[in-house]
């Protein structure tokens, strides 16, 4: 069911994606900055290949819209959003490596280690991760220094060993030892949940919002992070069902446990409905300003249909 707000949302998502794309392009074209020696062209080309690939830019959208709730400085929000996208793309480059998921294609294009080589892909990922913190900490991000430090810290926690990188380590382990339900939940909260949560929290941090507001956005981020993963797992089942004629997908074929494989698709759809309702309720205090963020929650959950 497509309602008016969904159409508005899709237009807004695309507009935001273009804005972010333009900033990312500028940031990744920079060849030298104070305190640096000229960045090698080949490395920059690999970094651009990994980032400028037509992604939906959902995480940046969440940063920008959560920042807009609080009338935060929009230039600052844009830079934080771009930094988060650089970090997200580094994680995809490293995930695709032969030693990890060994993927040759992403969005129909050769992955970075295919288009360049493995060593360059490792370094392009390292470079993007490092640059993400640079972009936030830089005085060009028009925020007081302590707020820039808080954002660096929150991003490092979301992305590090107690967040995304830890989730990736658990995921590798899960291929050998199938985790129980609590293990799956932990893995997903770290691997995909942590960055989505940061994206929502970041808006409050950029604005210097109250702890209560920050907590509200964090809870919203956690709800849609769960919904995102559940929708993904559901998509894995239903998408393949269309092409393979049966209700088993890539994860199931790989013997990978998901909440959908444990509880079934109907349960997952009910859960999704509950998560979206919870996410919407968390944003009630913001009234009409939160319409696009609410639509984002619905969008994230509806990827399975």
């Amino acid at each position: 069911m497509t309602t008016e707000i969904d159409t508005v949302f899709e237009t807004a998502l695309q507009m935001r994606a273009e804005q972010i794309e333009s900033l990312l392009r500028r940031l990744l074209d920079e060849r030298i900055r104070p305190g640096e020696i000229a960045r090698p062209d080949h490395l920059l080309a690999a970094m651009r290949h990994g980032v400028l690939n037509g992604g939906k830019r959902l995480r940046p959208f969440l940063v920008l819209e959560s920042a807009a709730l609080f009338d935060a400085d929009s230039d600052a929000a844009m830079r934080v959003a771009a930094a988060l996208e650089c970090l997200h793309c580094y994680s995809l480059i490293h995930d695709d490596l032969p030693a990890m998921d060994d993927d040759d294609l992403r969005r129909g294009q050769p992955t970075v280690h295919k288009a360049f080589d493995e060593a360059t892909a490792i370094l392009a990922g390292d470079g993007l991760l490092t640059y993400a913190f640079d972009i936030i900490a830089d005085e060009a991000t028009p925020l007081p220094g302590d707020r820039r430090a808080t954002l660096v810290l929150a991003l490092a926690r979301a992305a590090g060993p107690g967040g995304m990188v830890g989730g990736q380590a658990l995921d590798l382990d899960a291929e050998k030892n199938m985790p129980a339900e609590d293990g799956i939940i932990r893995l997903q909260a770290m691997k995909t949940g942590a960055l989505i949560r940061f994206a929502c929290e970041a808006g409050a941090l950029v604005a210097g919002a109250s702890v209560a507001d920050r907590d509200r956005l964090t809870a919203f981020g956690e709800a849609i992070g769960l919904a995102f993963q559940l929708a993904d797992d559901l998509l894995d089942v239903t998408a393949d069902a269309g092409t393979m004629g049966k209700a088993t997908g890539k994860d199931a074929a790989a013997g990978k446990a998901t909440l959908v494989s444990l509880h079934g698709a109907d349960w997952a759809k009910r859960q999704l409905g509950g998560l979206v309702a919870q996410a919407h309720e968390l944003l009630e205090p913001f009234g009409e300003r939160a319409l696009l963020l609410k639509a984002a929650a619905s969008f994230v959950a509806s990827r399975s249909h």
Copy 2:
């Protein structure tokens, strides 16, 4: 020639190494922190393997001694030094990977991808890089927020595509296309020089020293970074001369151009002498307080003898 100050230096270096080792151990034993989900044990073990390996901890020493010049907060300097060491160790873990230098041993121990596996080594490196920024940005580093942000930025620039990671990319390229002298100088300034420079600059940043003092420490760091690399290249020639009975080493055998291979060992020794004199002169204004840092410059250069 061993003088009294050299003996004092070696004792101080060892004492500092033990202090840093103890802080690193505490930081790498942390299983969960605010905003995180519990870090996977396996990943933490790989991170510890890559860091707690008995290094000399030269870079942390430079941070601590440059901070001491300005009476900077020593807890803050310790945390910045530990962060830098985590970052340095991530770079070694990734450099050792099969797709990069493909080394099985480091300091006589199996490298991380040998002791664990390749995927875990990639993630341990990613985790350490991310954690380095966390450690600095954290309020547990007792500095005003804007100073923490400045330190994050300086470290990101030294470590990123316009610094260490860029140098590593140039180094890979140099194996295929032998660079000319200016290319070698650029490569080395990025690959090893940038972090050593940051180590010296960091003391001034922790202290919030004047721009003039920061510039002085930066110049000192650049001089000893050059000396470090020259001594390394010289060591490659002279160390192998002893065992192989001729004056060609690993780099020469690999067809790798260095300033030593271009200009010869005698030229390199004269250069080293000049760099040490320059480094010492830069520290003159600090008088006796700079004795250990001056000794560090001599130590770095004398690794070739």
